[in-house]
């Protein structure tokens, strides 16, 4: 049910990608996402696909598991494709009633779909291979380089890691409350939209109450252990770049240069797009 949402979930396999420093992965992913927007021909997309495929294989995460994560986005991708197909002006290649598909539309739609899929797969590989705690540690370090945000880096990272930590708990809780109300004859599966919306009340109220209670208890527990924010705070686990991180950063620079070079290739692939 709710647990089948794979985006943002950690999938431990102990691979070399998992062992990379979170900062390396954040930088790499950022560079990857930025480069996606420079791509302008199929050579670039082909290269990106090869890079993603290599990383996926190295991460040892089952491909099916990553694909399941895209499933949730099928609707958005379809919508983008359909809109671009019909809305881009240019040479018409087919008509469908009042709508016409253009060659340019086909091109833009394909690129958009590929870009969205690569974006999702690329970022999910980062979250699948990095535990939430490591991820926020990495983010905290990265935020130190952003002016204005730097002062609140620790607090923001702390909030983020608490939020991430509680997502599965809240999902579990939702499922439990839902089951308890079902046991009392509540019906979430059939009926009109309005009656179904009304049926959410018996879930939402206990859920909110328990979320507030948890937040309150957590705050008290943190206070009882003298937590007082980022100043002078030391870490038990220090982040440290290793050889594999330096190597990855070199590969990252090569990726940026390589992908940039593909935008200059002018050899057609055999078909018009």
């Amino acid at each position: 049910m709710l647990k089948d949402v794979t985006i943002g979930q950690y999938y431990p396999t102990g691979s070399v990608i998992h062992k990379l420093d979170p900062r390396t992965k954040i930088l790499f992913t950022t560079a990857f996402v930025v480069m996606l927007f420079f791509l302008n021909n199929l050579w670039g997309y082909l290269a990106t696909f090869l890079i993603l495929a290599t990383i996926t294989l190295l991460s040892k995460i089952p491909v099916g598991y990553i694909i399941r994560g895209i499933k949730g986005l099928v609707l958005i991708i379809m919508l983008t494709v359909v809109l671009n197909l019909f809305m881009t002006p240019g040479t018409t290649i087919a008509t469908l009633g009042p709508l016409s598909v253009t060659l340019e539309g086909l091109k833009v739609a394909t690129y958009m779909a590929l870009r969205l899929i690569f974006l999702v797969v690329g970022t999910s590989i980062m979250t699948l291979t990095t535990s939430p705690i490591d991820l926020t540690d990495g983010m905290e370090w990265c935020m130190r380089f952003i002016p204005f945000v730097r002062r609140y880096a620790h607090e923001l990272a702390m909030m983020m890691s608490i939020a991430l930590r509680f997502i599965p708990t809240l999902m579990e809780e939702t499922e439990r409350i839902m089951k308890a109300q079902k046991a009392r004859g509540a019906n979430f599966e059939t009926g009109s939209i309005i009656s179904r919306a009304k049926n959410l009340i018996p879930i939402l109220i206990p859920l909110f109450i328990s979320a507030f209670r948890r937040a309150d208890e957590l705050a008290t527990a943190m206070e009882a252990r003298c937590y007082r924010g980022g100043e002078n705070r030391t870490r038990m686990k220090q982040l440290a770049f290793e050889f594999r991180d330096h190597a990855s950063l070199v590969l990252m620079v090569m990726m940026i240069v390589g992908l940039y070079l593909t935008t200059m290739i002018n050899i057609p692939l055999g078909f018009p797009i």
Binding site: K179, A180, A183, G185, S210
Partner: protein, 284 residues
Amino acid sequence: MSVEIKNLSHTYSEGSPFEFRALKDISITIENGSFIGIIGHTGSGKSTLIQHLNGLLTPTSGTVLVDGKDIFETKKSELIQLRHHVGLVFQYPEHQLFEETVQKDVGFGPKNQGLSEDEIDQRVRQSIKMVGLDFDAIKDKSPFELSGGQMRRVAIAGVLAMEPSVLILDEPTAGLDPRGREEILAQIKSLHTQKQITVVLVSHSMEDIGKMVDKILVINEGEVVFFDTPNRVFTEISTLESIGLAVPQVTYLMRRLKEKYPEIREDIFTVEAAKKEILKVIRG
């Protein structure tokens, strides 16, 4: 209603790295009108098992028959009907309260059953009284201003108000004071004897289980270890201890007494029975 569990297995998060086999090939029959106790170490799968009995969890393999009918072969609407007859009180049921007043909250189940206002009112009164609360004093209070123990009782009343013919309770007395435990257990027992409903009670208290049930189901790591009368189960002391359980305190006492009085019986697990036996032996 009789409940038959057939080769039931349940695996959580199947196909992910967090896959966990919580139940392994469980087959037992709970006869109509019987009182069953379930014991097992923390994480042995007790809560998982009972959630299959009213179709809240779907088995990975195997099935459950209620009155001979396969509940996972039926339509969704029939499953919802089934839940009116198989009442389940969750572990920590106080977390499910949501209405503005106690009266409305207890009436949630009967309302879902589609009963008339009068009937609902009647059921709510009765069940609140059954769990030892004062209806008039508590009916207009918000469930959230009650004490933990009172919330627990209100939540149990919410299931009793549906008048199920099979009542399943997951550790209903955990965290209650001794008097509250006695009261609630006594009510369950009297419901069982008066209305002949089938009861399944999950508990960590060997005393309660020994005192109340006809048959005990012992599970360990998702497998059935014993399914037998308290008499038989509580003689398997070493097996029970090896899976992190124990027998009632008085049974240990009787065992020690046996070293001194070889004629004393040791298959005893209630204080009353122990008293009788000790007096009998001492008085000759």
